[in-house]
Amino acid sequence: MDLASICNVNIKKLDSIIKSFIDIDSLLQLSHKEQLYDLVFSSGKRIRPIFTVLGSYFGEYNEEEVYKLAAIFELIHTASLIHDDIIDQADIRRGKKALHINTGIYDSIILGNYLVALSSEYISKYDFEKIYYDSFSLTDLCDSEIKQQAMLFNYDITFNEYISKTKNKTALLITASLLGGAKLANVNEKTLKILYQYGINLGISFQIIDDILDFTQDKNHLGKPNGADLMNGNITLPVIYALKDKNISEDIKKLNKNSSTKDFNHCIQYIADSNIILKSKKVSKKYIKKAKKSIRKLNHDKKQILINILDELEKRTY
């Protein structure tokens, strides 16, 4: 899915601003800068900044300002990826060594902190405080992640708990990026509400597809081992459905952080080959439908872009 083309986003311009933000500090070692460039620019989808630019289309916007805000959202997202890779013990990110493998855990944590502080500095510099802090709470995202720690390898997780987790983990930042751009363009309250519903439903659908791909996509495309979520104890929608399947549920329930790779792979392969994937895709499609429904009353010439994104999301295979 080439989201940038669908949304008419100038990726070169966006990347140039992101690069200029990272370039700013002469005290940041060149090796660290290069590692950050690598992380941001190597096959990252730039979903969040693209959504910021998209949001601005629904009002009167200043392109320079919008792209700066978009770059800030990408830096915040990148910081969260750096810390997530340490938490998930992921050695690979987008097909390359994760940052903490190269720099060590402590420096990697500090680099993540640096990106958050850098973003905050730009938020203040460009007077984006109201737009950013009213759109997004990093505290809420962390709170959700902290509470998830107690749910790892907990096979009692319900469908609703999974959706709530998915909303907090992915949908809220995507929605905040979209609304941030819209607010910067002085979009009216009614349209903001519509875009919020659209962003949340799209974000949930997007994460469900990510969770499916974790089982189905070959690891070269995935950029990490198959079934990494389950191996980390993260119970996603395909696993919730697998737990209802008599042929595999008992085997899954035995899995814990000390289980062998063989035991994990047995369950991962079963899920990948079963109709569980189809059932999960249906749920993803349900949220795409909800997103489409949410924009029915939107009357704007850029509405078609929102529809095109959903159509492409339905076809997403990577």
Binding site: D25, L27, Q29, I86, N113, Y114, Y133, T139
Partner: protein, 134 residues
Amino acid sequence: MSINQYLLHIKDYIKQNTPVEFIYHDDKYIEIKNRMLKENIDRQYHDLICASYTLFYSSLSYHNQAVEDNDNRSYNILLGDFICSYVAEKLYENGLFSVLKAFAESTKQMMLNILNNDETSDLLDNIINALKER
């Protein structure tokens, strides 16, 4: 600390949601409290500013602890992040934009210093200057 609502909130949050202990730097609390009294900073901000400064060092300690504490690494990283963003959001909610800016600039500089094995910090001076300029 016992009557500081912000510190109590974080302490209770950690107790209820994580297996790790609250890391509290009393020396940092006293340091900023004394400095604010000396500089005659409006008392309405004391609780929030004392908590913000103290909690920033708690956040740094959790991130430090994450390296050694393998069993609770995730909690240590996430708590460090949680506390830092909590401070920023509270400063924003209270309209202390200049302090928020000072925090962003100084903590970024601190991160750069740490990456360059330098432990110096101008966070305290910058917070006080931001408050005095209001």
